[in-house]
Subunit: 454 residues, 2 copies
């Protein structure tokens, strides 16, 4: 029996797509510079049993499988390879349980992050992970890439909210990991092994997620700095003094000007760095006053604290527009994701400015500054081969700088295809050998998302 017939034998008619015009639309996630192949089929299962059927079929026929969520990823991890089965989890989108006493939610992988966030809010609960794509991205994709977001500086990343998983293995068997209790140390932490594994070890079909009580609404301030160094010094001081901001973001001058050019935000062109801080504490005004004072001590020329949620939203608007504004600078962008110890943030930002000058490129940096997680965004003309080459080289040089500063090549976007060579460089040969050994245990035929990560 051929692949399509075999897939159809355990899936409803409408769950197996083979029309090339349709399947072609599943070829890519949102990364630049990442090749994508043509899938043999796209399958849209609705149950764990159907996923098991797909994996049993794939193993029997030795066909590679590329799992996909909402394809908002930025590293090519969800890109199809030629002849693969694209396994889209988007139809498995039920919230199965929300339990305020145990503070957990049980969900299928296709649930959209924003849908879950709003649903738990109705129970007075909070699911913190908030990637920028939260209105579109799926929990399964968040788990696959261990997604971060703006709230991480206080609440941590997706990994810290995954308690247990149901996973379909490459051979179609079901593996349960973790627990639904607050604590548990029985056996190896397989749950965390799957989080961030980018679909290379198994297919998550159900997740038990930890929730927090809903915090008070956050209140923000914006602080303008005459230099990157001053802004980064303020970040270090805020964190060293024990503050717990729910958001601590930085925009460099290139980002500020791009936003100004697009949206007429009226940010002074003399501003070299903009810091945004927010608190969701019982008395955010007091925290903002303390942090505002630290900003001024560090050299801020202006500090604007919001007094209402609406004012906060306005202040954060500039940050939200940054990527769109940088995308408008040239025809294409490459978004980096280097994370350094926050004490090295100034070194990274200054290094990015030097790299931009060296390669004669526009590189805007916005950063989850409190976490030292930066998104240097290289703007270039994709139709210009030399500029494209320089873009790629500068992108790599930024990762090299991140590693030199004791950081990592990826704080939250993952490795995918984009950073595969760089992962090997970050991990080194011993770690890489252990990675390959683990991959072999879970996926002996190398069928799960081949060619990605390492």
């Amino acid at each position: 029996m051929d692949l399509i017939a075999q897939l159809r034998s355990g899936l409803p008619e409408e769950a197996v797509l083979t029309d090339p015009d349709v399947t072609g639309s599943y070829a890519n996630d949102m990364a630049s510079f990442c090749e994508a192949g043509i899938p043999a089929a796209v399958v849209l299962p609705r149950t764990a049993e159907q996923v098991q059927h797909v994996m049993r079929t794939a193993t029997a026929l030795r066909v590679p499988v590329v799992p996909q969520g909402s394809r908002t990823g930025l590293s090519g991890a969800a890109n199809a390879s030629d002849g693969c089965i694209v396994l889209s989890l988007t139809k498995m989108d039920r919230i199965l349980e929300i339990n305020p006493v145990d503070r957990i939610a049980v969900v299928e992988p296709g649930v959209i992050n924003a849908t879950l966030s709003r649903a738990v809010n109705e129970h007075g609960l909070y699911y913190p992970p908030d990637p920028s794509s939260w209105e579109m991205c799926s929990i399964g994709g968040n788990i696959g890439t261990a997604s971060g977001g703006l709230c991480c500086v206080k609440y941590g990343v997706t990994a810290e909210y995954v308690l247990g998983l149901d996973v379909v293995l490459a051979d179609g068997r079901l593996l349960q990991t973790g627990r639904r209790t607050a604590k548990g140390v029985a056996g190896y932490d397989l749950t965390r092994l799957f989080v961030g594994s980018e679909g290379s070890l198994g297919i998550v079909v159900r997740a038990v997620l930890a929730l927090k009580p809903e915090p008070p609404q956050q209140l923000a301030l914006a602080a303008e700095f005459p230099s990157t160094d001053a802004a980064c010094a303020a970040v270090c001081e805020i964190m060293a003094r024990g503050h717990a901001p729910s958001l601590l973001e930085l925009m460099d001058r290139t980002s500020i000007r791009a936003v100004n050019a697009m949206a007429k935000m009226g940010l002074p062109d003399s501003t070299e760095a903009l810091l945004l801080a927010a608190f969701d504490t019982p008395d955010p005004s007091a925290d903002l006053a303390a942090v505002g004072a630290l900003c001024q001590e560090a050299g801020a020329t202006e500090v604007v604290p919001a007094e209402t949620a609406a004012e906060s939203d306005m202040l954060l608007q500039a940050r939200r527009l940054t990527l769109t504004a940088l995308e408008a600078v040239k025809t294409a962008t490459m978004i980096d994701d280097v994370c350094v110890p926050r004490s090295k943030l100034a070194d990274l930002l200054n290094g990015c400015a030097a790299i931009a000058e060296k390669y004669d490129l526009t590189i805007g940096v916005c950063a989850h500054a409190g976490d030292g997680n930066t998104h240097p965004t290289v703007c270039f003309d994709a139709a210009d081969p030399d500029e494209s080459r320089r873009a790629r080289e500068s992108f790599d040089e930024i990762m090299g700088l991140g590693l030199e500063l004791g950081g990592t090549i990826t704080g939250e976007h993952g490795v995918g295809i984009l950073k595969k060579e760089w992962l090997a460089r970050e991990l080194g040969p011993v770690s890489l050998e252990m990675h390959r050994g683990i991959k072999q245990v879970f996926d002996p035929h190398g069928l799960l998302n081949p060619g990605k990560v390492f």
Copy 2:
């Protein structure tokens, strides 16, 4: 060359102990009912290189290695096996770095938990994990067992504070995992794989730990309840209403009476359950008032809030004495560590009472109630074979009940020898196969802590 000569070729004279009177004192951790063998040697390396020498020697000669911290474990995970090398990390006890801006500490594995806690306090920082043995236990041991403690209900377990590790593998190679940045998703989460692996995958020789800002001093209340159900209902209500206590502990009537008998604490004998709650928030009195009201609504007969830190300490004294008091009931105890969803806490406690009656035994339960993590403690006369048998059976039955209630056999103490068969039952065959595969990747000759965990 024989084992001892080979070990001595790369270690200082005083770092290799072979006198049976001395090595015998390294045979056990603090678990009951766990067998221990006679080690061939005890080694006390002071550097990662010396640990590498030990592991290279062990691999060359195929000698099993049992890693040890302070041997305060409660599951036999650190017990020697016959002819093994006991690898004690107690001499590697340096704090290498405390960094308030990056909020990290870098430590060797032999650092005592309390030593680290006090050292970071001096920098305005806080290392939350606080196992009861914190004055004696080592960070390496904490990492090996993913230790918990009283603070977990607010701050989580050891696992959440381990950012990166240096690990000596079975063959003596050095593996670096993780990072010193706040975020990072490069590759599989090998760091978490080692946390809680009970020395079965490698030897941790250095750890990067995350720190928190030091919170305000906590203030506690005690609430007396006429029934277990009422106390557990209060726990559920406290958590469902979004409170964030820094401690939420429960003592059952057996524990209360044992403490009364030993220390004349003056707790009324009519009290069926005592709840202790604490807050380290900016306004703990307000939080205590709110939680006190919830306790009263749930049926508390008396609520005593502390007004000073000294009063808090007095209230918590009863909890601290529980284990010692229960140990005084008979000649021996077995401490269980079952964790259930907190919504099932009452079911577990009532079940333990029924099991105590069925086996005609004294079983006192204290619990990290906010986490659903209970420590049913079976008191028995070790010289009485029938009572010992009943103790063991009741201990097992409590684990069975925990699993039935959707819980785990171990919330924080680990598996070791004590719960090996039960781990297999909790994990099931597919998970166990994956565990064995991972073990094989890191330790192909099965030399690291053989016979433990699974």
